[in-house]
């Protein structure tokens, strides 16, 4: 219920923002042909697309189209918006999904290790790494990776999801994966920071708790406590955080796709923004809102599960 309300608000807010824009959608559509079109023809286009109607009427028209599953026509790709999004998302989900999983696993492991012995050398190293990556611009990191591995070492391809000039179907899975490695690694590298910090905080709190003291009294080592108690206490919060930060991940993917020229949803977003493809921009905004909201929803419901105490008390 809340999800629908939020999505409706997202639709309204993004539509409102588009209406505010000083960029004339007809100009944007026509591009370089702008000068060749007479005012009559402009009026015709405007009428056809309903641009002369008041904003509220346009919004309701767009909304009713939206409800019937019609997202509009993307003029830069010359395809229905829904087709563009689904094609692009298929490529992006590979990138997003693997980066998400990698960030979760590595971040969790680092957090456990760092938190197990607060103030140790390993803890300091991991914390230092986390603070630096948290302050690193995503796209800069991607550029560095590109520079090092593709330009200097030549291990990785410099762009795109496959070799240029080869038809999409002909690209082998191995080549695809090869093109994915750098984008995934850089995207994950940034996601790791948040999860590590969160997990570490949990671990530090645990290590100071009565539970740890009791375990020490039983002769347990720090490793034992981290392994038996720590993983139980920190895993659900880490997963929850990972779900709650899907928005950040998607934002990062926009930048990463731009640097690596990876033809995913993020790149389409930038294109739509730069070339004023309004229906596509709105479609992507709504789609990502749905994506992120579902992530938030999962995160919220996981909070209930974190602790058997909560789930039992509130059936």
């Amino acid at each position: 219920m809340r999800l629908i309300l939020v999505l409706l608000c997202v639709a309204a807010v993004s539509f409102g923002l588009i209406m505010l824009s000083p960029i004339d959608p007809i100009d944007a559509y026509l591009g370089s042909q702008m000068a060749q079109v007479s005012p009559d023809q402009r009026a015709l286009i405007a009428e056809q697309w309903g641009f002369d109607a008041p904003p509220a009427a346009q919004f309701s028209r767009w909304l009713s189209q939206l409800l019937s599953g019609e997202l509009g026509w993307s003029h830069i790709y010359n395809q229905p918006v829904s087709d563009v999004i689904s094609q692009r998302f298929q490529r992006s989900i590979l990138l997003l999904g693997s980066a998400w999983l990698l960030a979760l696993l590595v971040g969790f492991a680092l957090g456990i290790i760092a938190g197990a012995k607060e103030g140790s050398l390993l803890d300091r190293l991991i914390c230092g790494y986390v603070y630096v990556t948290a302050s690193t611009p995503t796209f800069w990191l991607a550029m560095l990776a590109l520079l090092l591995f593709s330009v200097y070492l030549g291990w990785m391809p410099t762009c795109c999801a496959g070799p240029t000039g080869v038809v999409n179907q002909d690209v082998s899975t191995l080549t695809r994966l090869h093109h994915l490695i750098l984008p995934v690694a850089t995207l994950a590298l940034l996601g790791i920071a948040a999860i590590t910090l969160h997990t570490r905080a949990r671990m530090v709190a645990l290590m100071r708790s009565d539970i740890a003291l009791h375990a020490f009294a039983q002769g347990a080592t720090r490793f034992d406590i981290a392994w038996r108690h720590g993983i139980r206490h920190a895993s659900l919060p880490a997963i929850t955080l990972a779900f709650a930060s899907l928005g950040e991940l998607f934002g990062g993917s926009i930048l990463i796709e731009q640097v690596f020229a990876y033809p995913g949803l993020g790149q389409a977003t930038v294109e739509a923004g730069l070339r004023s493809d309004v229906p596509l921009l709105l479609g992507i905004a709504l789609f990502t809102a749905l994506f992120v909201s579902i992530g938030n929803l999962i995160a919220d419901s996981l909070y209930q599960l974190i602790d058997p105490r909560i789930s039992k008390e509130q059936p």
């Binding site: 999505l7 997202v10 923002l17 630096v132 690193t136 796209f139 923004g273 809102a289 992120v292």
Partner: protein, 265 residues
């Protein structure tokens, strides 16, 4: 243990203000060197005469980086302050009635469900780009989480006995808000603004990098890096490395300052 955070915070504050002073005065000691072209020294690698190398038009990279950092700093600062002001206003409004609270909660949820960067793109698109548009876009996307914190804080303070006593004396809501509640959340605001700051700078740079932010003719970090992208495959590494490194160091500095201040408070 309780002593160290304050020392560290004081040290960081001093360092921060020193760097800030250097950065702020750079407009004066840099002169017009960021835009000065040297056609005999184009794309020079870093050396003693060209500290960080030069770009395709023979402009000194170090001067452009410092100028870019200054620009990023001011944009980030304005955006963070504006964002904090929005967060504080909305948090205060939310405490006034349950209906307002529900509306603001919905607004927060809405903004949090769109990825920051997409919202930024939308707002920058709506406002047509430029420095002001970036500041407004960053400010309008970064208030939700701080609003949540401040609202929770305000709601707890409102339950405090001294506020109830003040209410008993017949003080008006507005009076209580200004005299009791706002002073209490002020430290949270400062820390909140400082925590917003790095995000604001990074998002500003990202937006500019994508080409919808600051004007490409300005020496902004995002512009420098977007330019560098074109020369990257040719091996002109310094164009990409140094501006980003400068940004990283500045953000790291602010982030650490915020961290220590929060611990000390």
């Amino acid at each position: 243990m309780s002593a160290q955070p304050r020392f560290a915070a004081a040290a960081y504050c001093g360092l921060f203000f020193m760097l800030l002073a250097i950065l702020a005065s750079s407009a004066w000691w840099l002169g017009n060197s960021p835009s000065q072209m040297q056609f005999d020294a184009r794309l020079m690698p870093p050396s003693t005469s060209h500290w960080l190398g030069t770009d395709a038009l023979g402009r000194e990279l170090w001067a452009r980086t410092v100028a870019g950092l200054r620009l990023s700093f001011w944009v980030g600062l304005s955006a963070a302050l504006l964002g904090t002001a929005i967060a504080l206003t909305l948090a205060a409004v939310a405490t006034l009635s349950t209906t307002l609270n529900a509306i603001i909660s919905l607004l927060i949820d809405t903004l949090l469900s769109v990825p920051h960067l997409i919202l930024l793109l939308l707002i920058a698109f709506a406002l047509g780009g430029g420095t002001q548009a970036v500041i407004i876009a960053v400010a309008f996307t970064h208030w939700p989480s701080l609003t949540r914190v401040l609202r929770a804080e305000l709601l707890t303070v409102r339950q405090a006995p001294y506020v109830a006593i003040s209410q008993g004396f017949g003080k008006r809501r507005g009076f209580i808000l200004v005299h009791h509640l706002l002073p209490h959340v002020f430290p949270h605001c400062i820390v909140g603004a400082l925590l917003l700051f790095p995000h604001a700078i990074l998002h500003e740079a990202a937006l500019t990098f994508l080409g919808v932010g600051l004007d490409p003719s300005q020496p902004a970090i995002g512009v420098l890096l977007a330019d560098a992208m074109r020369y990257l495959t040719a091996g002109y590494w310094w164009l990409g490395v140094f501006p980003g490194l400068g940004l990283l160091l500045m953000v790291l500095c602010i982030d650490r300052l915020a961290f220590h201040l929060r611990r000390a408070l």
